[in-house]
């Protein structure tokens, strides 16, 4: 029974091999990425299709889990058999590859396509080293969205909050109505995600930059940071006992079912709402909680190892070009739930929340680089440990937490 598809695959492989031999200059690109879920693989298919249109062959190496995929890619680069392209998160993950001269820059394509004219500065900075761009940013993910259930808010008689003070009022009302006020997934990453949403929303973008960007221990001792720590601490009172260890999508489902009022989660949560047949602005709402704005931008990039084969080099440049073409960008964003990294496109075909995001990002002051862009993984991890300890130890005072954060910021990462 299983033999037939196997044989077909073999025949196809032979055909591919034959055609490859027939045309040695054919552009073949092996791409390592970690997009394996339904929406993600649909999105990555857009890249493959567009690349095929440009005359290339996409060889898909999908490895589940970001850490695994990155480890595999780095091992292959160090081991001397690099892929044509490999995925990273926008930020510091590929720093050392650049330092060790293992990546090629993509400045040629960047200048040709005038990337700097339509990309947020923070994204350009996050992919540039020594004035050269070393990766192709392909999308922007908003990390600090608030998702809310309109039904739950109505039931509790609460209004949609615009900032953290209003959110606390709404949470109190939801609690009084017997609902789970804040849907939460108690895993370290999301504890940090919630903290970061409070940090940028309550503390503001300047404080964000001094903590995550300048790593200034004094900022961790400021009264503004104390207000952030206290607000974050208060949120513990609005989660349900089942939160620890819960997956983020299970928390989103509580909002979808109207059992919980709201959740802080990145825009990948939209996929869950879409899968449940809910529409943005109708059944659920989305907002960035902030007094002064501040959209925390994460995202993905593709980096290109240095290769000797000229056909491969050609494929790399072609890939870089294809990934940023307007059509690719829009189609990719539709599937992925993110927004295009180009801010010069017509986004009317995207959902209401994505349109909101693009509108926000039009103003430079809302463009906030994510923690991953500003600090190396080791520092992000150490901060995560401290945040997680504070969240899970209600007896810990805000001052004790601030001292710990200051300590981490002092360490030489």
């Amino acid at each position: 029974m299983k033999l037939k598809p196997c044989l077909t695959a073999l025949a196809l492989a032979c055909a591919a091999g034959a055609s490859f031999q027939a045309n040695a200059q054919e552009m073949k690109a092996e791409v390592i990425h970690w997009w394996t879920s339904g929406g993600e693989s649909a999105a990555v298919k857009v890249f493959a299709e567009q690349f095929a249109k440009a005359g290339g062959t996409w060889v898909d190496t999908a490895i589940a889990g970001g850490v695994n995929a990155r480890t595999a890619a780095i091992n292959r680069v160090v081991g001397g058999t690099p892929p044509t392209a490999m995925q990273f998160n926008t930020g510091k993950q590929f720093d050392e590859l650049v330092e060790n001269d293992l990546l090629r820059d993509v400045d040629q394509v960047a200048t040709e396509q005038k990337w700097k004219s339509f990309m947020p500065q923070a994204i350009i900075d996050a992919t540039s080293r020594n004035g050269k761009m070393y990766a192709v940013p392909v999308n922007i993910h908003g990390q600090n969205w608030l998702w809310l259930s309109k039904a739950a808010l109505e039931k509790a008689g609460a209004s949609e909050p615009a900032n953290w003070d209003e959110a606390l009022v709404a949470l109190e009302k939801l609690k009084a109505a017997g609902l789970i006020p804040l849907a939460f997934s108690g895993q370290k990453t999301w504890e940090r995600g919630l903290f970061n949403a409070v940090l940028v929303g309550k503390g503001g973008t300047a404080l964000w930059a001094s903590i995550h960007g300048k790593r200034d221990p004094a900022a961790a001792r400021s009264p503004e940071f104390k207000a952030v720590a206290e607000t974050y601490g208060k949120l513990r009172g609005y989660i349900d006992p089942g939160a620890p260890g819960r997956n983020w999508n299970d928390a989103t489902n509580l909002v979808i079912q109207g059992k919980a009022g709201m959740q802080i989660m990145g825009d990948w949560a939209k996929g869950e709402f879409a899968a449940a047949g809910q529409i943005a602005g109708k059944e659920f709402g989305c907002a960035i909680l902030s007094n002064e704005g501040g959209y925390v931008m994460g995202g993905d990039v593709f980096a290109f190892p240095k290769l000797k084969d000229p056909a491969q080099q050609k494929a790399q440049l072609a890939l870089a070009k294809v990934m940023l073409e307007p059509e690719t960008q829009i189609r990719f964003a539709q599937k992925k739930g993110s927004i295009p990294v180009r801010l010069d496109l017509d986004v009317s075909s995207l959902d209401a929340c994505a349109q909101k995001a693009v509108k926000l990002l039009a103003d430079k002051k809302h463009q906030v680089a994510s923690q991953e862009m500003l600090s190396p993984p080791a520092l992000t991890g150490a901060m995560e440990d401290v945040i997680s300890q504070y969240w899970n130890t209600p007896a810990m005072t805000a001052d004790a937490f601030m001292a710990k954060v200051a300590d981490v910021l002092k360490q030489p990462f």
Binding site: R70, G186, K188, P377, A378, S388, N392
Partner: protein, 297 residues
């Protein structure tokens, strides 16, 4: 003379047969260990480099709160897990040894958990212990609304839930080893004790347990290895949480090796684990070899 030549030849053959294993041992095992120790003395982050920084990584490791918690957790987990598994396994074996009916079925049931990986065990116990749909919810629904069993979400208790799951996993194995030991005890001893009129518990305590020394040692060594490499259970059950309350050293190493791109710190932690194990094992080895020598003398 021919005898000597014969012996040399057979020694040579044995040596040849063993040499690949020896090579693997030296290159892979010792080589990698040496490399790990060397990396822990450098400033390596995501990629290995050779900038020597002395014991700086160890200094920051010792000051790292998560590492301190991990080590303390391993000590608590290790001692409780060893004691509880040995005790429970022994009691199960004694119970089955009473010529119960359906002995084979019972033995399979008790041994069954051991056939599952720690990942599966961890997930099962995560569900069972989850306060919103596990044991706590069930008992509450039965009409005890104030029943509380939320150890898995409490920082001070979570490490004991890991012990539960691990004991559940390993007790069957201990039972199997103990049962084999019990079956090896001569029937005549039991007859003799019956003539003497000794109560059964007294026989187990004073005669059977001392005779089962080898079985206990085997079981303890097997259990001890799973203590040191404890990783998957913590990942599957709590992922180190809440906070850092159920972190363990092996997870510290893995997280810092891969996710956090901090080879220096990770290898320093790995080396510390190695030193600790060596510190425990070395005296035992010395004692063993002395004993063997004395036996030969």
């Amino acid at each position: 003379m021919p005898l000597v030549r014969h012996r040399t030849a057979s020694r040579l053959a044995a040596g040849l047969a063993l040499s690949p294993a020896l090579l693997v041992l030296v290159v892979v095992y010792l080589g990698c260990t040496a490399w790990t120790v060397w990396i822990s003395l450098t400033s390596s982050r995501m990629l290995p480099n050779s900038t020597f920084v002395g014991l700086r990584q160890y200094a920051s490791l010792m000051g790292n709160e998560r590492w301190q918690v991990s080590v303390a957790n391993l000590a608590v987990f290790g001692s409780l897990f060893l004691i509880a598994s040995l005790a429970l396994g022994f009691l199960l074996a004694v119970a089955i040894d009473q010529r119960v009916r359906a002995e084979n079925t019972l033995r399979s049931i008790f041994l069954y958990p051991y056939s599952m990986s720690f990942i599966v065990t961890g997930l099962v116990w995560q569900w069972l212990l989850n306060p919103s749909f596990g044991i706590e919810k069930m008992v509450r629904d039965f009409g005890f609304p104030s029943f509380r069993f939320d150890w898995i979400v409490r920082q001070d208790m979570v490490i004991y839930t890991l012990v539960f799951a691990a004991v559940w996993h390993a007790a069957g194995l201990v039972m199997a080893i103990m049962l084999a030991g019990l079956r090896g005890i001569d029937e005549d001893i039991w007859k003799a004790t019956r003539i003497d009129g000794l109560p059964a518990w007294r026989v187990y305590l004073s005669i059977v347990i001392p005779m089962l020394g080898a079985s206990f040692a085997t079981a303890a060594v097997l259990l001890a290895t799973s203590v040191v490499r404890l990783y998957d259970l913590s990942v599957a059950m709590t992922n180190g949480g809440p906070g850092v309350a159920s972190e363990v050293p092996a997870k510290f190493v893995m997280d810092h090796l891969f996710e956090r791109g901090n080879l220096g710190l990770a290898t320093a932690a790995a080396t510390s684990m190695l030193i600790t194990v060596a510190a425990v094992v070395a005296p035992w080895l010395v004692w063993q070899s002395r004993r063997t020598r004395r036996a030969h003398a």
